[in-house]
């Protein structure tokens, strides 16, 4: 009942909004004025444009329909409405799927290698491969990407290469980040992928700033910004949504809602209709899609990108998915969720499986090809992994560079102190691992 009332109200105000409002000369902007149209009264408080009511109502989550989840494929990889088939060229579909498998294989090997103590840390993307490849494939490769940390697939799509990723995880001398950050904190100027940092959500208002600068420079590019539903609770998310809307920045906020922030289920994270419902409250066009349906993610991102460029305004995309893996190698997720729950999701909604069914039905993929490709990738990852392990870490002086563009005197002094110290006490340090 209430729901109907509110929807009726929404329609009413839209009608009223299109009706010219009489403004009297000299009428103060901050004053409330009205114009009787169809029995309703149009108000303009400076803070909101709405109408009076004599019915005392409270509005909550149930006052509105929850945002529906856009999908293209059913669980068997069949396109439900042919009009929504994005008709991605075959070669591109194969590249998307091969990328997903590459990420999946790499995740398995690097996860295990962390368990063996060969790298210090790792985070897998199990179950979220569809969000990475569906979205990345719908972007221009020059669109600037800001990520959280579970978006490695975007880099794979952009041909960043597993060599660079593995070098980063080792922090060896070939790592573009010079071995300074923890594993999985990838970044590439060349691939327009802003280097990941650990503090959650800081990248959101930054993405807005970059998008604003893009708009001024008329670059005809958008900024893509990924984050999880947990990160959306940080103050920076609020800042970013509001800044993007008011300053009209062509940024896509892409939320991976995978049900958990480490151990925290979404019921402890928020009580509204997910992250998507917040979009309209900020005046941001919003799409909620099935994150396990790669084609739905692709369509949503493509539409969002077109809207951003045409309107110079932000879009929020909430991709509903499920984190199949542990949060990280420092986490055992069986401590807070059942193995059955994970199995259920793995069986009913794995994005890789669904996409594979889709391309198989199109005759683009076979079981033999699957086996062969997995085998090739596995060998390649292991080879690169072993090579990466043998490469020395960067020179120790690299610890002191890039704090500032130039090296200030006091940092030069500290570098020299360490050099001098090592010349006497070097045997107590792992010098042999460094160049």
């Amino acid at each position: 009942m209430l729901r109907h009332l509110v929807r009726g109200l929404g329609l009413g105000s839209r009608v009223l909004r299109s009706t010219p409002v009489i403004r009297r000369a000299g009428f103060h902007r901050a004053s409330v004025y009205c114009n009787d149209v169809g029995g309703g009264e149009m108000l303009e408080f400076p803070g909101a444009r709405t109408r009076w009511t004599e019915s005392l109502q409270m509005f909550n989550k149930d006052s509105y329909e929850p945002l529906p989840v856009y999908r293209v494929m059913d669980p068997n990889g069949n396109v439900i409405n042919p009009e929504h088939d994005p008709k991605i060229p075959d070669a591109k579909l194969i590249k998307m799927y091969e990328g997903m498998v590459t990420l999946n294989v790499m995740d398995k090997i690097l996860y295990e290698s962390q368990r063996q103590g060969r790298i210090s840390f790792y985070m897998t993307s199990f179950g979220e491969e569809g969000t990475h490849f569906g979205s990345a494939a719908a972007l221009d490769d020059k669109d600037l990407v800001y990520g959280q940390y579970r978006e490695s697939g975007v880099l794979i799509w952009r041909d960043f290469g597993i060599v660079e990723m593995i070098n980063q995880c080792y922090g060896n001398s070939l790592d573009a980040g010079k071995g300074r950050q923890m594993p999985v904190h990838y970044g590439s100027k060349e691939k327009s992928f802003v280097t990941i940092s650990s503090p959650l959500t800081t990248q959101l208002p930054q993405a807005v700033g970059s998008a604003y600068a893009f708009k001024r420079a008329k670059k005809n590019l958008v900024v893509m910004c990924y984050f999880g539903e947990g990160a959306a609770s940080e103050g920076d998310a609020h800042a970013a949504f509001n800044f993007a809307a008011t300053l009209e920045a062509p940024v896509i906020f892409f939320c991976r809602n995978n049900g958990y922030a480490i151990s925290t289920p979404t019921k402890d994270q928020y009580r509204g209709d997910g992250i998507g419902a917040r979009g309209p409250a900020y005046g941001i066009a919003t799409i909620r899609c099935d994150g396990n349906d790669t084609l739905a993610v692709y369509n949503a991102t493509k539409r969002a990108r077109e809207y951003c460029l045409k309107e110079n305004k932000p879009v929020l995309v909430e991709a509903m998915t499920y984190r199949l893996g542990h949060h990280s190698t420092s986490d055992d997720s069986t401590a807070y969720r059942s193995i059955d729950e994970v199995k259920t999701w793995e069986e009913k909604a794995h994005p890789l499986v669904r996409f594979r069914k889709f391309i198989t039905s199109k005759g683009l993929w076979t079981d033999e090809r699957e086996e062969q490709f997995r085998d090739e990738i596995k060998k390649e990852v292991l080879r690169v992994f072993q090579e990466g392990e043998r490469i020395k870490k960067p020179p120790i002086d690299v610890m002191f560079t890039d704090v500032y563009k130039e090296m200030p005197l006091h940092i030069q002094e500290q570098r020299d102190q360490l050099r001098e110290h090592l010349s006497e006490f070097g045997q107590h340090y792992p010098l042999e691992q460094f160049q």
Binding site: P199, G209, A213, F243, Y404, H410
Partner: protein, 364 residues
């Protein structure tokens, strides 16, 4: 809510202060050293010289944008008056009221290579942006292996005692940021330095925080070069030479110290006064050279004592000048309390407290 009321009042404060000039805790001394550049000059107060710097920055760099709370109409301290009319609302604009958003947005603008000049309405309200500044801006170049940087970012913020600002319109917050490698922190003592140092900050390839002592906005007035000029960062200035004791300070407190130099002179003590200007990375060389000649050092700042930047200077100088020191390095600072309203005259490191310290150092 209260804060917004107070902020809106900000524009009025300096006007009131002008009528209460005699009540200020210091006397402004116009620039007496060599002007940093030749050519025409004009009489400007500090807010006007800041506008002049911003005007030059916008006119010479088409990517430069200015934003923050209430900057569009000219700012609560008038620093951005006329800039939106001159350069357009896409270059000088208001943001929503959210400091972490302002800092994060500014970082993003800088990441894309454009020049970002952000304003925090009061240094007291920079703390919501602490994470963005310390974890992000300061570490951007380092953690990306120099692939990305935010060198074209400058944050301007009014700071310091203003007579009646109490807890949240008086703070000097440089000490919090001095512990953060990657940032540059700059504080001018008057209109000339404000223009030259601000232009240096805007053009420096590192993220800078530019603290503007708000009591100087209108109270200070002097001849400022009209042209574009810059004053180098990380360089202290000896504003008054002397042989008996070195006093190091920055911002408004330089003027307090300058009065103490006059008072001490009458007692036959010649103080050497150094305006540090850049807090990070600071000019240890100039301070150490001075202390090696005078043998004594007092550091004085408005911020509270414990772990204030004075501690860094004191520790470094005793290490550098141990054999030259004839008395312990003294610090004359605010107390380790929040900044109080009615007790401000007692809280501040006044010229009398500083004179007391000078005498004690000489007698040691």
């Amino acid at each position: 809510m209260f804060r917004r009321t107070v902020a809106a009042l900000g524009a009025q404060w300096p006007r009131r202060m002008e009528t209460r000039r005699t009540a200020a805790h210091f006397t402004f001394t116009p620039n007496q050293t060599q002007p940093p550049v030749q050519g025409n000059s004009e009489k400007l107060n500090m807010y006007q010289s800041i506008t002049s710097a911003l005007d030059i920055a916008l006119s010479k760099d088409p990517t430069a944008v200015i934003f923050g709370e209430d900057v569009a109409f000219g700012g609560v301290f008038r620093c951005t008056v006329g800039l939106q009319e001159k350069y357009g609302s896409d270059r000088v604009f208001n943001t929503p009221l959210c400091e972490q958003g302002i800092a994060g947005f500014a970082i993003g603008v800088a990441v894309s290579g454009s020049t970002a000049i952000a304003e925090m309405q009061f240094a007291d309200y920079i703390f919501p942006a602490f994470d963005q500044i310390v974890n992000e801006a300061a570490k951007f170049r380092y953690r990306t292996g120099n692939q990305f940087d935010v060198g074209s970012l400058t944050i301007r913020t009014p700071c310091g005692a203003v007579g009646h600002g109490a807890l949240y319109h008086s703070q000097m917050t440089e000490g919090y940021f001095a512990h953060c490698p990657g940032l540059k922190l700059v504080i001018p003592r008057g209109p000339t330095q404000a223009k030259g140092l601000l232009l240096s900050c805007i053009r420096d390839p590192n993220p800078c925080i530019f603290f503007e002592p708000k009591i100087l906005y209108r109270l200070s007035q002097e001849e400022v070069p009209v042209d574009d000029f810059s004053i180098p960062l990380s360089q202290a200035e000896v504003v008054r030479p002397g042989k008996d004791i070195t006093i190091v300070s920055w911002g408004t407190q330089v003027h307090v110290a300058n009065e103490v130099c006059d008072l001490a002179e009458k007692e036959g003590i010649e103080c050497e006064l150094i305006d540090l200007q850049t807090i990070l990375p600071w000019d240890k060389k100039t301070v150490a050279e001075s202390v090696k000649r005078t043998g004594r050092l007092i550091v004085t700042h408005e911020a509270s004592l414990t772990a204030g930047f004075g501690a860094e200077i004191a520790a470094s100088i005793q290490e550098e000048c141990f054999l030259y020191l004839e008395s312990p390095v003294k610090r004359v600072t605010g107390y380790d309390t929040p900044f109080p309203h009615v007790f401000e005259p007692f809280y501040l490191p006044t010229k009398w407290k500083l004179l007391d310290a000078v005498r004690k150092s000489l007698k040691y």
